[in-house]
């Protein structure tokens, strides 16, 4: 099956000279149609940058991004605008216009993409609101009349209005309370089933990623450390960074083992990342060779697993 999204050797840079930050480097992966792919990493790992570069909200400085076989890098703006309808984004903070009624906001999206230009417009807006668990009468309200969870539902409705096939959700739950998070997770699962959406789910919350996604990409300092099916990753993380990340996350059950501190200190500055493997400065298994070369992302014996570690064969 051809992938819905195919990323090859993607790089994103900000600034120049001594202030140059290479936020994303040499990232390659595919997303299959209908798949939910999780993108995890800590702050500064480049996960949001990567998500935005995928749908060309920021321009990448190198590499290739293909959407359903079509190259997006270097695409002219008008073609990109036509394609953008199929790839939408859900943000952590939906940033709704405070002076616009919710119905007008959705109507604007429909106009932008020339959808439902006739009499079906009002019915479509009702349908979108119902789809995300709101009511048609909400269309007349303003953003401040909604709670945090409802605002995120509106953010999702706005993305769905364009009838996308691919959605990038960037920490859509982080600003919400636990009980509301569960509501939104259930909504995302429901929408995926009903609409057959393909999802890139960016999160620092490993539990939610484990629950929602089929496959996971682990980022550290702009580079991919590991890609694996969710089950396999959480059962037996292959990369030392993934191991440390999972060990540090507290499981909400006192009967389970307590979190472990495997990493000392802070991540290095992205302005001045270590040579070779970017994780080597904190890695408990680093050897001299790790400073010499960037470990390639190579397949493991298990199908569908890739890891970027020179020593992975020693513990896999």
């Amino acid at each position: 099956m051809t992938p819905m999204v195919s990323v090859k050797d993607l790089a994103v840079e900000f600034g120049r000279g001594a202030q140059r930050v290479r936020a994303v480097r040499g990232v390659s992966f595919d997303i299959a149609p209908g798949e939910a792919l999780g993108l995890v990493g800590e702050s500064g790992s480049g996960k949001s940058t990567l998500g935005r570069a995928l749908i060309q909200l920021i321009s990448a400085s190198g590499g290739s991004v293909q959407f359903e076989g079509q190259e997006l890098m270097g695409l002219d703006p008008s073609s990109m605008r036509r394609l953008r309808r199929h790839m939408q984004m859900v943000f952590q903070d939906p940033s709704l216009n405070p002076r616009q009624r919710v119905g007008d906001m959705l109507s604007e999206v429909l106009s932008t993409h020339r959808l439902h230009m006739g009499a079906s417009r009002a019915a479509r807006i009702d349908e979108l609101l119902l789809m995300v668990g709101l009511k048609p009468e909400h269309a007349r309200r303003y953003a401040h009349e909604f709670s945090g969870g409802q605002k995120q539902r509106l953010g999702i409705a706005r993305a769905l209005a364009a009838e996308p096939r691919f959605i990038v959700a960037d920490e859509p739950l982080s600003a919400l309370d636990m009980s509301i998070q569960a509501q939104i997770v259930n909504l995302l699962i429901d929408l995926r089933q009903r609409l057959g959406l393909t999802l890139l789910f960016i999160s620092h919350d490993l539990d939610v990623v484990q629950y929602l996604c089929e496959r996971v990409v682990v980022l550290y300092l702009g580079r991919v450390m590991e890609i694996a099916p969710t089950e396999a990753l959480f059962d037996a993380p292959a990369h030392p960074y993934t191991q440390a990340l999972l060990a540090a996350a507290p499981i909400p059950d006192p009967a389970q083992p307590a979190p472990q501190v495997q990493l000392q200190g802070d991540p290095p500055s992205p302005l001045n990342p270590p040579s070779g493997c970017v994780f080597r400065s904190r890695c408990p298994h680093a050897i001299a060779a790790c400073a010499e070369q960037v470990p390639p992302l190579v397949p493991m014996a298990q199908t569908g697993r890739l890891v970027a570690c020179l020593r992975h064969h020693e513990w896999s």
């Binding site: 636990m178 259930n186 539990d207 939610v208 990493l263 200190g265 802070d266």
Partner: protein, 337 residues
């Protein structure tokens, strides 16, 4: 250490915000005990009154609003004397705050002074409370930074908060709070702004300091994973009230209040864990609706409108406390639902 007597006894704490339209009850009758060497976790969602409870105890409520606080918060000092944190004079409170009772906050950057070196900010506390001169206070500050495992502590003394990473700043906050060896530490979401690997470091550090000093800790958080591994007892707050209080193992194994049950059922990590044990997929159970508006609370249980098991009596009358041993819940339902 006297284990039988609590270090801090909070009884029927009420905090009301006084407005032109009347008094808005935000903390509604919170009671708990803190014991030496123990951690009580105060969990709940935003707006449940956890932070306000802490600020009331510290007498740090925003001064640009008018508040009415009633109840008692009895702190037992080394000599066995008790001080009611809510009724002692502001002057007496200033002697206790940052000295016997200290607090750390979620976002160190907004609590540290951006124009003072961190060493100075730590030293200020010991100068004030211990009467040390500048040189001795600086030495004490250095020791405090070393105690919180800040590398190259003697250089860091003269650095400013913006030169430190988020994890380092939180360590500085902990050093500031710990430098006078408080008996009670109130930690308000101390790791919420941190990455998970840094969170693990900070929590490990706090546990070690607690073991060394025997202080008691009130740990405010919304993260049930952190609660599970870092607290002895848990108090669950909803709409300004503690609705359930129990030992940590009991609470997770047998949550008794419908709200606590709901909270645990909506954790994806727990759903996965259960699915693994039973071999069947466990759906995430969300709690429908949202927390009530505090100005429009009815006479009954504040959770009743969202409760799956609510009875007619739940919306009519305020719920009673029911207890089995030290496991208490505020609920009408006689049997565990």
């Amino acid at each position: 250490m006297n284990q039988s007597q609590p270090r801090l006894q909070v009884r029927d704490l009420h905090t009301r915000l006084l407005q032109a339209s009347g008094a808005l009850p935000l903390v509604r009758g919170v009671s708990f005990d803190l014991y030496d060497g123990q951690t009580l976790a105060l969990v709940g969602e935003s707006g449940s009154g956890k932070s306000l409870t802490a600020l009331t105890l510290m007498r740090l409520l925003a001064r640009n609003a008018r508040w009415q606080c009633t109840g008692q918060a009895l702190l037992r000092d080394e000599a066995g004397q008790t001080h009611d944190l809510l009724s002692i004079s502001s002057q007496d409170m200033r002697q206790l705050r940052g000295n016997r009772v200290a607090m750390i906050f979620q976002e160190p950057m907004t609590c540290l002074n951006p124009v003072l070196p961190v060493g100075e900010q730590i030293a200020e506390s010991v100068r004030l409370h211990r009467g040390l001169d500048r040189r001795a206070a600086r030495a004490q500050a250095l020791r405090a930074l070393e105690q919180v495992e800040i590398p190259a502590a003697s250089q860091r003394l003269d650095e400013y908060p913006h030169q430190l990473s988020g994890g380092m700043r939180q360590r500085v906050m902990i050093a500031m709070a710990m430098v006078c060896e408080p008996q009670v530490l109130i930690a308000d979401e101390p790791t919420t702004a941190l990455d998970v690997t840094i969170q693990a470091q900070i929590l490990q550090l706090m546990s070690r300091l607690q073991q060394q000093t025997g202080m008691s800790m009130l740990f405010i958080t919304h993260n049930l994973g952190v609660v599970a591994h870092h607290a002895e007892r848990v108090a669950v707050m909803y709409a300004g009230q503690v609705v359930e209080q129990a030992g940590v193992a009991e609470l997770f194994a047998q949550p008794a209040h419908p709200y606590t049950q709901g909270l645990l059922a909506c954790l994806p990590g727990r759903a996965r864990q259960l699915a693994k044990q039973t071999g069947r997929a466990v759906p995430l159970q969300d709690i429908s609706g949202q927390a009530p508006a505090m100005h429009a609370l009815g006479p009954g249980c504040s959770f009743a409108p969202r409760c799956r098991a609510s009875l007619p009596v739940c919306t009519a009358e305020s719920p009673p406390w029911r207890a089995e041993g030290s496991h208490r819940r505020l609920c009408h339902l006689g049997e565990q639902p």
